[in-house]
């Protein structure tokens, strides 16, 4: 199966020209900001840490 796929790869001409989407300046800025934010969010690992006063809590509000 793998062999067949490699034979098919790139051996035909598409009827329409397919162009990669180009981003305008704003879209590019948004994307870059999104990547930076996502990177920052995962820097802290998968756990949130906001509480600094209590070490334990047993539901006694």
């Amino acid at each position: 199966m793998k062999k067949n796929i490699s034979v098919l790869k790139g051996n035909f001409q598409a009827k329409k020209d397919v162009l990669p989407k180009t981003l305008n300046e704003k879209e590019e800025g948004d994307l870059s900001e999104k990547v930076k934010k996502r990177a920052l969010a995962s820097l802290g690992g998968s756990m949130v840490y906001m509480e600094r006063k209590k070490r334990t809590w047993d539901g006694n509000v």
Partner: protein, 336 residues
């Protein structure tokens, strides 16, 4: 640059992870039976002292686990998930194994992953960890060995399981291996605040909440200090950083930092160096480990126990946690 990244981590983390934590807590609800408050009482040497074995690179370099085993130390052993199999390798059976992270594919690996091949696709996280050097050379065989060992020895350790662990991978694996599970919620914000995430998690699973300090090693310290109430705590493998000879490409958040900075040359500003006083060796840390380190130091404020750092390296250099050699600690507690 370094400080500004560290400052932004807590806020960004909350909005990013909140949904995952709530979803996982709900999925685990049918399995949350015993709380960490239900653990059997301990006495004698097991209650007098403990060693928290974390998974920093010093554990292998300093042969810390082998030395603990050889000393016939009688106190409690608390291993973080990433150090558990390393303990089994040396014939050391932890009393407790701490597991916290909700990651769907990475955490299960610490217990032998039945779907290793599928879960490793496009993820080089483990290749960037020192503890894993042998594993990466022979992954399939070592993973099967880990599955067998964990299945055989699970009954000898209590898993201290966070309610946000991934249900289908990690919790399923723990059930398969037949670990006794004792559950806890992460105390991530002030439960008295409106819309507190901690309160929401508690409402789903009403078990004790523990401050995590952002990472499983810090959570293990809170468990030892506040739940077990052990008066003498030693830290091993709590490096909070890297040996000076580690290339920055092998650090755990390298890709995230690369995405975050504007220019390639700014990457160097994301790391700071330390000299470890007992050995004079150079270590460095990234914003993530620096943040974890800061969190532990905050948690140590007002501690009733004595905590010593027996990592013999790393960046945890502070009067609140004096550094002593592991051999010294083992000698001090050789008779319990």
């Amino acid at each position: 640059m370094f400080e500004s990244i560290v400052e932004k981590i807590p806020d960004m983390g909350k909005s990013y992870h909140q949904e995952t934590l709530l979803r996982q807590a709900a999925r685990n609800r049918p399995f949350v039976e015993k709380s960490i408050r239900d653990l059997p009482k301990r006495s004698g040497p097991k209650q007098a002292s403990c060693i928290i074995v974390s998974a920093g690179p010093s554990v292998r370099r300093k042969k810390s686990i082998r030395r603990i085993k050889a000393s016939q130390y009688q106190g409690s052993i608390i291993a973080v998930d990433g150090a558990y199999v390393a303990c089994l390798e040396e014939g050391l059976f932890p009393d407790f194994v701490m597991a916290m992270d909700p990651h769907p594919t990475r955490v299960v690996r610490w217990f032998g992953d039945p779907n290793l091949e599928k879960n490793s696709v496009n993820d080089d996280y483990f290749k960037r960890q020192d503890l894993d050097v042998e594993f990466r050379n022979n992954a399939t065989e070592k993973n099967q060995r880990n599955i067998d060992w964990v299945n055989r020895y699970a009954c000898r350790s209590n898993v201290i399981a966070c309610t946000v662990l991934h249900t289908e991978t990690v919790v399923a694996r723990m059930h398969e291996a037949k670990f006794p599970l004792y559950w806890w919620n992460p105390l991530v914000d002030d439960p008295e605040n409106k819309n507190s995430l901690t309160k929401q998690l508690y409402d789903i699973n009403p078990v004790a909440c523990l401050n995590t300090g952002g990472t499983v090693g810090n959570a293990a310290w809170v468990f030892a200090h506040d739940i077990l109430q052990i008066p003498s705590i030693a830290l091993v493998g709590m490096d909070y950083g890297y040996y000076g000879d580690t290339p920055i490409e092998q650090t755990q958040t390298y890709y995230e930092l690369k995405d975050h900075v504007e220019k390639e040359e700014d990457l160097k500003k994301c790391f700071i160096s330390y000299t470890f006083p007992l050995t004079g060796e150079r270590f460095y840390t990234d914003p993530t480990y620096f943040w974890y380190r800061q969190n532990l130091l905050e948690l140590l404020e007002g501690s009733k126990s004595v905590t010593v750092n027996c990592t013999e390296g790393g960046t945890l250099i502070d009067d609140r946690v004096p550094a002593i050699s592991l051999d010294q600690y083992l000698k001090d507690f050789s008779n319990g």
